[in-house]
């Protein structure tokens, strides 16, 4: 059959059941077109067919042979970015880049038919394309910018044609931005498009599933169809006899237990003897084709003996329930308990003039990174295993592969290709990663396993559903005298990061407010559901929701303005909290002032009219965990910077760019330190053979920790050049600066030496020019057991105002505006920072209003992108990101985190805005329309107008470890 794609003719055979998506990606190698669901629910596979945007996953290849087909590869045939691609780059519309090809196609279709589209028209045109990173605002801005440029320059918009469009200045800046630009830097603080954006915009960027290798096999995992059952037998003979089946493995082939937390290694690659959740891996096949692998799974006969399924926190705690893990201390379904008391809570409550107690519930949610998890393993005759995986944690994956497969670290190489979003969902070790490796070792062939969207919902590791009882004592002036939080976490069937999560739920309250007496009791239970783990904010959004809603209620009861009551409790910069958190730089006050004035909160609150409301909340978050997961004295991040003869620099770091832009941040830091143009710095990242260890992209640690490591490496190599330069121009090294390709005397720039010249002289003197650097946080743990979670070398702070419009007859909530000010220390790159803020806002909006990772009788209720609701461009508000810089003394150039913290205050700000709009309190997210109506009805009948959990189970927490407050506690 003949196909016309991007103006070229292709001749190939197609199978009747082959979709256009499969033809493009698998037969023609046009992997720029992505897939996120293959069921028509996400838009990632959008292509142009006869000029119309359509889904290649639902289109048979044979149906479109007479049409012109346009894919992302055709947009820039001569390597000059198309006007739309250029606009995406400049506005920061690309993060992980996985939705980008589909977005570009939908955007292009709009621009081809509509001149000067309105914002509404742009949103409508993109409404079938889900993005999880950006929050859509910058994508909408990009399409608008492209439409304006198209009008002015008559750009061609046909796919497959060469574009005469000149590449304008690599990036443009509006005046306001120019004004704010720090003059002492050349790179830092500038809105430079991210590193590698061109490859993501042209479809050249390779994600794991885009890769394939000669002689590669396709792996597929057979998953449990029971939520709790004994495995009576597994018969694989019939499947094994199928032509093209190369191996079938089960728990016996991978018996070694593992777990991301050394204290709870309770998982195996396959369920052994019993299954503990629906979707748990039971067996796996490697076969010559995906179809054969699928068929083989159907031929594996597993006999189960069902057991009672444990579906909720209450059920897990019931004495009559089945035990999910029989062994050891977890036989009562309790995975982890934490009981800590700082100061004297009882006394604190005695001293309170007003005390209130509330119960809150925060539903579980999934990350829904648009790229489905994928791994390819290749085991060579040299006994070396190479694995490509869409992971956030190559170092931990390497360690676990060694442990489970019995290999030396030198014989395992993990490479992370581009990653299509993570949000915490790729920071654990997954069965398919181990299984691909084992299958490859057995078959001596490369093996690829790519999960379906449904499988991603089963491997989960998302937000823990959390029930919270919160008691807070206030003085008459609103100051908190004591706070007691009890939390029950529904952990699912395995530990994952759950030990850390249980601590995190209690750890950071004191980093936002001064709490003189604080008690936390947390308990994580096992249930027969997919394991929960870390999702953006890891364990902290739940208590933030509770505390920020409760303080709003308290402000009403006490007659204190909701902003003022918070101001009276804010932590001080450079202070120590009652639980020994070391707070350093803190721009929370400034965040509050900025967000209030931008939103006109005080003027609007209570005055927006029936159904309209505005809400406020604040929060804080860590810039990296102060302690490593595996306790050791090693650096958390190491890096190298190498300078070549031609003067260019290459950064080596294991930090993993999952779309958040860490490759960019690290490159920009090095470019600034060396005084090079960003185009003269390249980066090799996330490859365990080539790059020194960085612990991974989790806990918002990369900018701070890997940033410090690469900065030190850059400075160290720069020293060699300065030594040479100093001698050449007769100026002490300490008076030299390196900027814009020269090394010169600070006080007289005419005295200097060309960078490349210095490099050559230095290399001839020292040999290879390599600088190394590493970062290890100061010892921040408090003097008590359990103090390992919470400390961070620096905290970020956020303040949020949300404005909503509620329909009191339907219960529908529209979030109209969100203002979010975030103290990130120093903005390394405002485009990336705003992107993190906007993406956090929309992920929070999903959790606040619609996302529910829920189960009925052990069955996932909505394991698809249609059933599980993530916001589309039509649900997102206008987002007003405000960057606040507190210049942290220990961060690289003063930078802290921005990837997770901005999510935290958004959920309670929305809940508080709904209260302002309707006078009701929804103490349970997501705030669905039914809950709004129930609360309104209750209020109408003279009730309190509250919907939320009404009881908290009787739980015997273990006796709290009492910890005296630090002496310097302020």
């Amino acid at each position: 059959m003949r196909f016309k794609i991007n103006g070229r003719t292709y001749r190939t055979n197609v199978r009747p059941n082959q979709t256009l998506l499969e033809l493009l990606r698998e037969d023609l190698g046009l992997t720029g077109t992505k897939h996120g669901c293959e069921l028509g629910e996400c838009g990632a596979c959008t292509v142009l067919i006869g000029g119309k945007p359509r889904l290649s996953c639902l289109t048979l290849a044979s149906e479109v042979r007479s049409f012109e087909i346009g894919t992302v590869e055709g947009l820039a045939p001569d390597c000059k970015l198309h006007v739309l691609q250029q606009a995406f780059a400049e506005t920061g519309a690309v993060q992980c880049g996985y939705c980008t090809p589909g977005m570009l196609m939908s955007g292009l279709a709009l621009l081809q038919t509509t001149s000067n589209p309105s914002e509404r028209e742009i949103r409508e045109a993109l409404s079938g394309n889900i993005c999880r990173c950006s929050g859509y605002n910058k994508i909408i801005e990009a399409v608008r910018l492209a439409s304006l440029r198209k009008e002015s320059t008559q750009h061609h918009l046909q796919i497959g044609e060469s574009h005469s469009g000149q590449r304008s200045a690599p990036w443009s800046m509006d005046e306001e931005r120019e004004h704010r630009m720090p003059k002492e830097f050349s790179v830092i603080g500038r809105p430079i498009p991210k590193v590698g954006v061109e490859s993501k915009l042209t479809g050249q960027a390779k994600y794991t599933d885009d890769l394939s290798f000669p002689n590669m096999l396709y792996g597929k995992i057979l998953r449990s169809t029971h939520s709790h059952a004994k495995i009576v037998s597994i018969s694989k003979d019939r499947a094994m006899s199928l032509d093209g089946v190369r191996a079938i493995i089960t728990a016996e082939d991978l018996p070694i237990k593992y777990g991301i937390m050394p204290t709870s290694e309770d998982e195996r690659a396959f369920a052994l003897r019993k299954v503990r959740y629906f979707g748990e891996p039971v067996a796996a096949v490697a076969a010559d084709s995906p179809d054969i692998a699928q068929k083989a799974l159907e031929y594996i006969d597993v006999k189960y003996e069902p057991l009672q399924s444990v579906n909720s926190i209450e059920e897990a705690l019931s004495k009559n329930s089945a035990s999910i893990h029989e062994d050891g201390e977890c036989s009562n379904n309790i995975h982890k308990t934490v009981s800590l008391e700082f100061g004297d809570v009882e006394q604190g409550f005695k001293e309170a003039d007003y005390t209130r107690e509330d119960t809150f519930f925060y539903e579980g949610s999934n990350h829904v990174a648009l790229e489905e998890h994928s791994a390819i393993a290749s085991y060579g005759a040299d006994g070396k295993l190479t694995e490509w995986s869409s992971t956030q944690v190559p170092h931990y994956l390497q360690r676990t592969l060694c442990k489970v497969l019995g290999l030396q670290a030198s014989k395992v190489r993990v490479i992370v290709p581009e990653v299509g979003g993570g949000f915490g969902g790729k920071s654990d070790i997954f069965s398919h990663e181990l299984v691909a490796a084992k299958l490859s070792m057995l078959c001596s062939q490369p093996v690829k396993i790519t999960c379906t969207r449904e499988e991603v919902f089963y491997l989960h590791r998302g937000r823990h559903p959390t029930l919270m009882r919160l008691k807070t004592g206030f003085k008459g002036d609103g100051r908190i005298s004591a706070l007691h939080l009890k939390a029950l976490l529904d952990g699912g069937a395995y530990g994952s990061y759950g030990v850390a999560t249980t601590y995190y739920v209690g750890a950071l309250q004191t980093a936002t407010y001064k709490i003189p007496n604080y008690k936390y009791e947390g308990l994580r239970v096992y249930t027969n559901k997919p394991p929960c783990g870390p999702k953006r904010g890891h364990g902290t959004p739940q208590p933030r929701f509770a505390i920020e809603c409760q303080i709003d209620k308290a402000s009403e009861d006490l007659g204190i303005d909701p902003v003022e009551i918070r101001r009276r409790n804010l932590v001080n910069p450079f202070s120590t909290s009652v639980n020994y958190l070391r707070i350093t730089s803190c721009g929370l006050q400034e965040c509050i002032e900025k967000v209030l004035s931008a939103s006109e909160f005080q003027k609007k609150r209570g005055h927006l009219g029936q159904g309209n409301g505005i809400g406020f909340a604040v929060s804080s978050y860590i810039s990296g965990a102060g302690l490593p997961i595996f306790w050791n004295n090693m650096p958390h991040s190491s890096a190298e910077v190498r300078i070549d003869r031609d003067g260019k620099a290459t950064v080596y770091s294991m930090a993993t760019d999952i779309g958040q832009g860490s490759d960019s941040v690290l490159s920009f830091i090095v470019a600034e330190a060396l005084g090079l143009d960003v185009s003269d710095v390249s980066i090799v990242s996330a490859d365990t053979d080539l790059t020194p260890v960085d612990l991974g992209s989790y806990s918002s640690r990369v900018t701070f920790m890997a940033g410090n490591a690469v900065l030190e490496a850059a400075k160290n190599v720069r020293e060699l050049l300065f030594e040479v330069a100093s001698r050449e121009i007769g100026v002490p090294q300490s008076d030299l600066v390196s900027r814009e390709g020269r090394i010169y005397f600070r006080d007289d720039p005419s005295k200097g030496i060309d960078w490349t010249q210095a490099v050559r002289k230095a290399e001839s003197q020292f040999g290879a020019l390599v600088g190394t650097g590493s970062y290890k946080p100061p010892n921040l743990a408090g003097p008590y057991k359990g103090s390992g979670v919470g400390p961070s070398p620096a905290y970020s702070f956020s303040a949020c105002v949300a404005e909503v419009r509620c329909n009191s007859s339907t219960g529908h909530v529209e979030v109209k505006n969100v203002w979010l000010a975030h103290d990130l220390g120093r903005s390394i790159n405002p485009l990336l920072a705003e992107g993190q803020i906007e993406g956090s806002v929309v992920m929070a909006l999903g959790e606040a209003l619609m996302e529910e990772h829920t189960f009925k009788d052990g069955m996932h209720k909505s394991p698809s992108m249609l059933g599980y609701k993530t916001p589309t461009p039509l649900e997102v508000p206008e987002i007003h990101p405000i960057i606040v810089e507190s210049i942290d003394p220990e961060g690289p150039f003063g930078a802290k985190e921005v990837g997770q913290g901005p999510l935290l205050p958004v959920v309670p700000a929305i809940a508080n805005a709904i209260h302002d709009a309707l006078g009701i309190r929804i103490d349970q997210v997501p705030i669905t329309p039914n809950k709004i109506l129930t609360a309104l009805t209750d209020k109408l009948k003279g009730g309190t107008g509250r919907v939320g959990p009404n009881s908290f189970p009787q739980v015997e927490f273990k006796e709290a470890l009492k910890v005296d407050p630090p002496k310097i506690f302020s």
Partner: protein, 332 residues
């Protein structure tokens, strides 16, 4: 990657060829037009036809002829985006245009057809799942099993018919043309459906829905409101199609309210006619109709959000729809 099962793919160029193919293989074959409903179902192994007969190439089925005075004849292969963009439909048969423009996503509307939307499969939280998921809860009445997970003990399937186009068609009294090797027949749109989630189409397997026949507009005022969680991608969990014609005094001489996505077929609110005919669209009459609609709406707990919420929304949405029509009447 979710993949399609194997099948034989036929692409007849004419209705006659299609009839022949249907005659040869009707037991194990399925018709497809855009495929946006069928292919996801096939990928989830909800059906595995041996033959898929695509009518996409039949040009005769892709046309819109006539005008508001004569009525419109819309070919079943007309894609939803073309229907939504048609100016005559938008102006004189607004309900249909509003229904079409709210379906799924722009990409699906460029592919999905009117015929496909009218003949789409019913949906259920226990049915639109993978083979493995369904085997986990035991297969249901809709496909290969003998239980209903929505109403245990039920002898019939309660899957929901979630077409947006069907209630819109019914509200304006459209007819449908079906053709087979045995000849053609036309029937009111409502007669295509019956209240059984496992067998909701009253159409024999060898028949092809060829055209949607809209009556002369004759002063039709109409609208479509759709309830769902997100304003894109999602199917309706309640659809309200409302149409009236007014006489010179502003009294209703025609009135129809049809509810979608709350049962296995569209539900016509019979009382609406009785209440409205000869009367004006006042707040009182609107309230009465909304209450009548609320009474006949019996959604089950098998879509997004709760059934009680969807039921209570029937009243709100019908009231909103009629209020909108009253405002339009005022304006025109």
């Amino acid at each position: 990657m979710m993949r399609l099962p194997t099948f034989e793919h036929k692409r007849p160029a004419s209705l006659r060829q299609a009839f022949d193919l249907l005659k040869d293989s009707s037991e194990d074959s399925l018709l497809v037009a855009g495929g946006t409903d069928l292919y996801p179902n096939m990928k989830r192994r909800q059906c595995e036809p041996r033959t898929v007969i695509s009518i996409a190439r039949i040009r005769r089925l892709k046309r819109i002829i006539g005008n508001q005075n004569s009525g419109l004849e819309i070919g079943a292969n007309t894609v939803l985006s073309d229907l939504g963009a048609d100016p005559v439909v938008a102006k004189y048969y607004t309900v249909l245009s509003e229904a079409a423009t709210q379906i799924a996503s722009p990409q699906i509307r460029e592919t999905g057809t009117i015929g496909g939307n009218l003949c789409q499969d019913t949906r259920c939280n226990y049915y639109d799942m993978s083979y493995e998921w369904r085997s986990g809860v035991n297969f249901c009445l809709k496909h290969g099993g003998n239980v209903c997970h929505v109403a245990s003990g039920s002898k019939r399937c309660w899957a929901v018919f979630a077409s947006d186009i069907a209630p819109a068609c019914m509200a304006i009294g459209s007819r449908l043309r079906l053709a087979s090797s045995r000849g053609e027949r036309t029937m009111p749109a409502r007669e295509l459906y019956q209240n059984d989630g496992a067998a909701h189409l009253r159409k024999s397997k060898d028949e092809i829905l060829t055209d949607l026949l809209l009556p002369p507009s004759d002063g039709l005022i109409s609208t479509y409101l759709k309830l769902r969680r997100r304003d894109a991608i999602d199917f309706p969990i309640l659809g309200v199609a409302a149409a009236v014609r007014l006489d010179s005094k502003g009294n209703c001489r025609y009135a129809k309210i049809v509810l979608g996505a709350i049962g296995s077929c569209p539900v016509q609110v019979a009382e609406a006619e009785q209440i409205l005919l000869g009367k004006r669209l006042t707040q009182d009459t609107i309230e009465s109709v909304a209450t009548a609609a609320y009474r006949v709406a019996k959604p089950q707990d098998n879509t997004d959000l709760t059934f009680s919420y969807r039921k209570s929304m029937t009243k709100v949405y019908v009231s909103d729809a009629l209020t909108k029509l009253a405002a339009k009447a005022e304006y025109s």
